[in-house]
């Protein structure tokens, strides 16, 4: 196995309602590889299957057919608990709608993945503070999510995604709910994580403009990869 490959997908098929009259094939023999340290984007219209692909990459879902190896781990054989461990250790999610846990401070939100990983209280508080400083949120650590603006929430979410130093950061339309200025700020954080920390980042978006900023653009249509090209920047 090539250790250079962070994500290695072969002939991934995903069907829903298997055996029912309304059986639906969402992903059709997807082959995808992402190198360690690469910043790639997956673009497609809604209904192209990119959410389903993201769920499989992020170990939230299993493919119906095909082989998926994430950071050297074959995902085909894992049970629910193992998938939880993989999500916890290897995947950092950034969602369009931020998905911070309500009534929980920014600091506690960033601590959550470490809590589930069994990191001690002092260590996780220290790391959470460090990460919040990295995204420029050290002033608002004790704020609740409803006291933060969209851009601030997303920065906390990025800090949370970095908590367990994951193999990949999986960002699903991270700027979709933000205005252009704060969206720009969030994209800059991704770029700096990529350049300075060498993070592997998979950006899922419907915006060609954002995709151009990444190293490689993978186009998805009707559950098939229709093109792979380099980003223009």
């Amino acid at each position: 196995m090539n250790s250079e490959n962070m994500i290695l997908m072969q002939d991934i098929v995903k069907r829903f309602f298997i055996g029912c009259p309304n059986e639906l094939q969402v992903l059709d023999h997807i082959g995808l590889d992402v190198r360690a340290g690469e910043f790639v984007s997956i673009v497609g219209e809604s209904g192209s299957g990119k959410s389903t692909l993201m769920n499989i990459i992020g170990a939230l879902d299993r493919p119906t057919e095909g082989e998926y190896i994430l950071d050297g781990v074959d995902m085909g054989t894992l049970d629910d608990n193992k998938l939880s461990d993989i999500r916890n250790a290897k995947v950092g999610f950034v969602f369009q709608t931020f998905n911070l846990v309500p009534r929980t401070t920014a600091l506690k939100n960033v601590e959550l993945p470490m809590l589930y990983a069994g990191v001690s209280r002092t260590k996780r508080t220290a790391r959470a503070k460090e990460l919040l400083r990295l995204v420029g949120m050290e002033e608002r650590m004790t704020h609740m999510p409803n006291e933060l603006s969209g851009g601030q929430k997303q920065r906390v979410a990025i800090a949370r995604a970095m908590a367990n130093d994951p193999a990949i950061i999986l960002a699903d339309e991270p700027t979709g709910a933000l205005d252009s200025v704060t969206g720009r700020l969030v994209m800059d954080i991704f770029h700096s994580l990529h350049k300075e920390s060498g993070k592997t980042i998979v950006l899922i978006t419907h915006s060609q403009e954002l995709a151009e900023e990444t190293e490689r653009i993978i186009s998805l249509k009707d559950g098939r990869i229709t093109g792979v090209r380099k980003g223009s920047n």
Partner: protein, 435 residues
Amino acid sequence: MDMFENLSLAIGSLKANKMRTLLTLLGIVIGIASVIGIMTVGSSMTDSILGAIQGMGAGNITASVQQRSGEEDDGDFAADAVLPGGRSESISVQATPTISDRVTDQMISDFRENFPDQIENISLSESVGSGQVKDGRKYANVSVTGTNSGYGAVNDIKIVNGRYIKDADISASRNVAVVSDKFAKSIFGSQEPVGEQIKIYQGEQIYVYAVIGVYESETSNIVMGAPVAEKDIRTNLYIPVSAAKSWNGSESGYMSFTIRTRVGVDTDAFLAQAQSYFDRYYARNQNFEVSVSSMESLMNAIGSILDALSLGLAMIAAISLIVGGVGIMNILLVSITERTKEIGIRKALGAKNAAIRVQFITESIIICLIGGVIGIVGGIGLGLIGSQILGFQAHPSVFTILLALGVSMLIGIFFGYYPANKAARMDPIEALRYE
């Protein structure tokens, strides 16, 4: 995931919905409080009643003349009960014991000589009835009882002044009386009572007796019903049994007597010996026999009846606990639906099913424990008030309190498990999509 984090999570989410938490708590509080209250009143009642019986002499054995239960022999009794119609003529009319049916002084002294190692004392008594002692404007209510010399010892009467009735008083049928300290105080005040004459008024009759002793009256009287003014309380006045018999105009012999056994005597074995001893005397008596029984067996019987009674009531109260538990389950299900998205986020961040399950069960246990503690405090309060009203000394039992805590925790686990499991098994993708 550590326990402390679970606790603070649970407390946080309970605080977030204060009113809802309060209402949910209420179910458990009411349930636990009523169980504890009933158990407290129940055990106080049992203790007080058994204590009172103990005071009457728990180690004593009572022998009494009773009508035979069967016409010919005891074995027929069951058949009589099964076929009452067919043998109705065989059911005897209530026979009145005649002088020949009574236990005589001779029988009692023979009995005593037969078991010198077992019998410490024998108490004989003949109730005369109530009367009033008057001296000018002072008065005291009394219950007059004729006793032998053994009565005082068997019934633990404590003489504080003078002496108790002696055998000589009985054989001479002297008009002497032993009175209570309360009586002495209300009739004689600070004056020395021993040697003084008292007049006992009963109906039209007036009897004159000399006080020979004063005993200490029991302070822990169970007074049920309407409260009685201190000076109207009726105390016992003891006179020689022979004097009582002539007062009553009754026949010689006794319908019952009480035996105090020596320390270390096997009560059950002696009971059987005494029974067979008297069976010989009454073998030819067709209507009556002497039945020997101990207070201990009566106490056990009463004790178990009272325990069963309070347990039964507590069981009924426990139904409200189940209702409270269902309330918790209901609220948790609502809470889980509301927090579907949060559960999805936690799962996406790597929370295992077990972690989610523990989080919600912790919440349920905390509600139950808080409710349990408030309920215990309230229940003890209710128990104290209830015992006070019924006139018993309250005895909250530690065992019941610990049991209540354990039960509330179990309710938390039992009724929390289903909702918690439902949360744990949510599909993370669908949970994340939930708005």
